[in-house]
């Protein structure tokens, strides 16, 4: 089966690979080694390292098919055809072809674009939690306000608590949060036997 449509995209740019006019292939060394193909079928590619050769790389891709220079075949042309012209698709020496949609073949699960970003922020949150430093922004702001009030209005001197998980301003912050229907949950237990506030700076 030959490609019925030639929508090739660089995987990290999401823009079509520039079709190259026959006999004038160029390929940047910085070209990524992965690209997406929108529609199913066979793929026929000319390795960029062998620009003057007529040999091609080709293969029937399933989910992921690495197309290596050693897989060079001559059975399929190095060109793709459109109504008006013939075009080469230059490619790096080693390729991995990933099919986006080609029933009945299964496609690789695509991570949403924000997944990596959120996993990164989750990693940061986890790191803060490990040292009992994490508070959600809304809770933090309410604790700030409650602390200011406690310092301004408390009849007794304010002394820091032994446990960072139970700041004295928490009840006041919870009370102030109630009218706005925002609920401050329980503080997470300190994971370490030595709370960070007790550690002497090294």
């Amino acid at each position: 089966m030959v490609l019925s449509s030639h929508e090739f995209f660089w995987i990290d740019r999401a823009v079509p690979i520039t079709p190259l006019v026959e006999d004038s292939p160029t390929c940047s060394a910085a070209s990524p080694q992965l690209f997406w193909i929108r529609e199913g079928g066979d793929v026929s590619l000319r390795p960029s390292s062998n620009e003057k050769s007529n040999s091609t790389c080709s293969g029937n891709y399933s989910r992921t098919l690495p197309v290596k220079n050693s897989d060079t075949l001559a059975s399929l042309p190095a060109t793709t055809s459109r109504a008006d012209c013939r075009q080469h698709l230059a490619a790096p020496r080693s390729l991995a072809v990933t099919v986006l949609s080609s029933p009945p073949m299964q496609t690789q699960p695509q991570r949403p674009p924000d997944a990596e970003k959120f996993s990164r922020s989750a990693q940061m949150v986890e790191r803060l939690r490990r040292d009992v430093l994490y508070t959600e922004k809304r809770v933090r702001d309410r604790l700030f306000v409650a602390l200011e009030l406690a310092l301004a209005e408390s009849p007794t001197p304010l002394i820091l608590p032994a446990s960072p998980a139970t700041p004295p301003t928490t009840p006041a912050a919870k009370r102030s949060a109630t009218p706005s229907s925002f609920r401050i949950g329980k503080s997470p237990p300190a994971p370490s036997a030595t709370p960070c506030s007790l550690r002497e700076p090294s």
């Binding site: 949150v125 959600e136 820091l160 007790l198 700076p201």
Partner: protein, 112 residues
């Protein structure tokens, strides 16, 4: 806040983390204590993770300032990250590969 040295004792000095902090009266808060506290968190992450770079501003905004409120634009949170990073200019450096690194390993964020 204690690690960020934002609590002031009655003599005006900042409380240091440690056993004595638990027995010292807190008289007031240092001016700009909110920024100082959140800057500390930022410096802590940079120091501990070691691979935070210019591409992580959005993730930092989510980790530190996410409010689960669609009315709060993410751009504002990113701006806050940048502002706090700017206040760390004398404590962090930006390497050629776009990664922030603490200049002084003895800084509060690194010492905690």
């Amino acid at each position: 806040m204690l690690a960020a040295r934002t609590f002031l004792a009655q003599n005006g000095t900042a409380l240091e983390p440690g056993l004595r902090a638990q027995a010292t009266v807190v008289a007031s808060l240092k001016e700009g204590y909110r920024d100082l506290t959140e800057t500390f968190l930022l410096g802590f992450l940079i120091g501990r993770l070691g691979d935070i770079g210019t591409r992580d501003h959005v993730a930092l905004a989510h980790a530190l300032f996410r409010q689960f409120d669609a009315r709060v634009p993410l751009a504002d949170l990113e701006d806050r990250v940048v502002l706090l990073l700017a206040s760390l200019h004398d404590r962090i450096s930006l390497r050629e590969d776009g990664i922030y690194s603490l200049l002084d390993d003895r800084s509060p964020a690194a010492a905690l």
